[in-house]
């Protein structure tokens, strides 16, 4: 069991380490690029693979993510959230681009290399969010598993498959309003599990 002072110390250490890494990235220190990869590649790859479902494509997307992170390190604002949260925003965006390009005709595959229409998401106007503690991750996973099946499916289709609410409604053969409500209910329950807010 991790008590609050211990948790604060662990987060302080993580924050200082991350600050040094960010300084290195901004100054173009090549060693920092290696540290960035070593520290976050598995998390990034896990999410990307979950979305695209193919190792070859996942590798391409992960390469894009880290190249863009290296090129745009100056844009990262630590006051808006953690480095991993920033990377995951980029990773999800690029992975969904890849997935959407795959859904289109093969002769439009080249769209992957073009500018993503999600590029705006790389400069989120809102908090990236703080890092998720290990226990919170466990609680989130348990909460996700405990969601009613349709709420869970709707939420996973939106997050991991990048479907719009209209597309989800079509897939599940449910009314649009029902899908919106299910997604909302599901995510509020997940939030309550990790933030303790009443649903």
């Amino acid at each position: 069991m991790i008590d609050e002072p211990m948790r604060a110390n662990l987060f302080d250490e993580a924050r200082h380490s991350e600050e040094a890494l960010v300084r290195g990235l901004r100054t173009g220190d090549e060693g920092s690029l290696g540290v960035l990869y070593d520290r976050y590649a598995t998390s990034v790859y896990s999410l990307v693979y979950k979305i695209v479902g193919d190792h070859t494509e996942a590798e391409d997307v992960v390469q894009d993510v880290f190249v863009q992170a290296w090129q745009r390190a100056a844009r990262y604002d630590p006051s808006r959230g953690s480095l991993i949260a920033w990377l995951l925003v980029i990773a999800r965006s690029r992975a969904l681009d890849c997935l959407r390009a795959r859904r289109a005709r093969p002769d439009r595959y080249g769209v992957i290399d073009g500018a993503s229409d999600q590029d705006g998401a790389w400069a989120e106007p809102f908090q990236y969010t703080a890092v998720l503690a290990a226990e919170q991750a466990v609680e989130l996973q348990a909460a996700l598993t405990a969601l009613p099946l349709l709420q869970r499916l709707a939420l996973e289709m939106a997050y991991y498959e990048g479907l719009t609410h209209a597309e989800i409604a079509g897939r599940l053969e449910q009314p649009l309003g029902t899908v919106k409500a299910r997604i909302r209910l599901g995510i509020v329950k997940l939030r309550a599990a990790i933030l303790g807010n009443p649903p």
């Binding site: 290696g34 979950k50 080249g110 809102f126 908090q127 939106a158 599940l172 449910q174 997940l190």
Partner: protein, 295 residues
């Protein structure tokens, strides 16, 4: 007040979908405009982002291949050097232009020469220098662009066969997803909860069975089957266990099965999963790992 709360509840739903990127145009733009002017929705967006990051972090762990590290680092450093080289070259050319201009300004004028000739010669030389520099810069940029396009064409050509494979995979995945959705929406669907037995006490599974649309099953916390063995799903009926198919493992401890409902199948009273040797069996012979609790 009630109407306001109701209206804002809809905005909160829209904010949720906006955070997920699940809104289509023009709803997305409308929601973005609203959020920019609504502090409550801005706070909502910030807290939702935390959940979404959490969803990213709890994706099943997949370690990338070791050789990806070098590929990524090399690509990132090369991309940075490429952009710096372009900048330096452009700066060098424009600095040369400025240097030439500064030298021109220092050329001595002779009171013996016709001022008209002097005045026209200098601008012509400057214009010629500028033209040469512009052509050189244009040539460099054109060559760089050609190189860039060639590199992209090479990448595209190597991905063509992969694209065809991906299209087939995507079609299969789409048909699987459609099958799941149909079972979920079936009016005659029954739900079965399976619990782990002695061989796997922490395992659990959910099964949805529709006589008209088939079976969808999802299992978690299963131990990895030994080499040469598979998990097989059984529908328990009055006529004995009937095989529904083999569990397809999506990760090391999770599996799923989507199966059609054969005509004339007796109504299942339960579902079980056993470990079978080889490619499966006609009846359960191996140990049972999960069995239904019924719902």
């Amino acid at each position: 007040m009630t109407l306001q709360l109701e209206a804002h509840r809809e905005w909160l739903e829209a904010t949720t979908l906006l955070a997920l990127g699940a809104l289509e145009e023009p709803d997305r733009e409308t929601a973005e405009v609203h959020v920019q002017h609504c502090q409550e929705c801005q706070r909502e967006m910030a807290s939702l982002q935390r959940v979404l990051t959490g969803l990213g972090l709890i994706a099943p762990r997949q370690a990338p291949a070791p050789q990806l590290r070098e590929r990524v680092v090399t690509a990132a450093l090369a991309s940075a050097r490429s952009s710096k080289t372009s900048e330096k070259s452009f700066k060098r050319l424009t600095q040369s232009d400025s240097f030439a201009q500064s030298k021109l300004e220092k050329l001595p004028t002779s009171p013996l020469q016709a001022p008209v000739v002097r005045r026209t010669r200098t601008p012509m030389f400057g214009a010629a220098a500028l033209l040469v520099l512009t052509l050189a810069l244009g040539t460099y940029l054109t060559q760089a662009h050609v190189n860039h396009v060639e590199a992209r064409l090479q990448e595209a050509s190597t991905r063509t066969s992969a694209a065809e494979r991906h299209a087939a995979e995507a079609q299969y995945a789409a048909s699987q997803a459609q099958s799941v959705a149909r079972v979920l929406a079936a009016p005659d669907v029954r739900h079965f909860g399976l619990i782990g037995l002695a061989s796997s006490p922490t395992a659990f599974a959910r099964a949805l069975w529709s006589p008209s649309r088939g079976l969808v099953l999802s299992a978690s916390n299963l131990p990895a089957p030994p080499s040469g063995h598979v998990y097989q799903v059984w529908l328990l009926t009055s006529q004995g266990p009937i095989s529904a198919g083999l569990l397809s493992l999506t990760t090391t401890d999770e599996g799923s099965l989507i199966a059609q409902a054969p005509a004339g199948l007796p109504t299942p009273v339960g579902v079980a999963i056993s470990l079978e040797a080889g490619g499966g069996a006609t009846k359960p012979t191996g140990p049972l790992f999960l069995s239904t609790t019924s719902s």
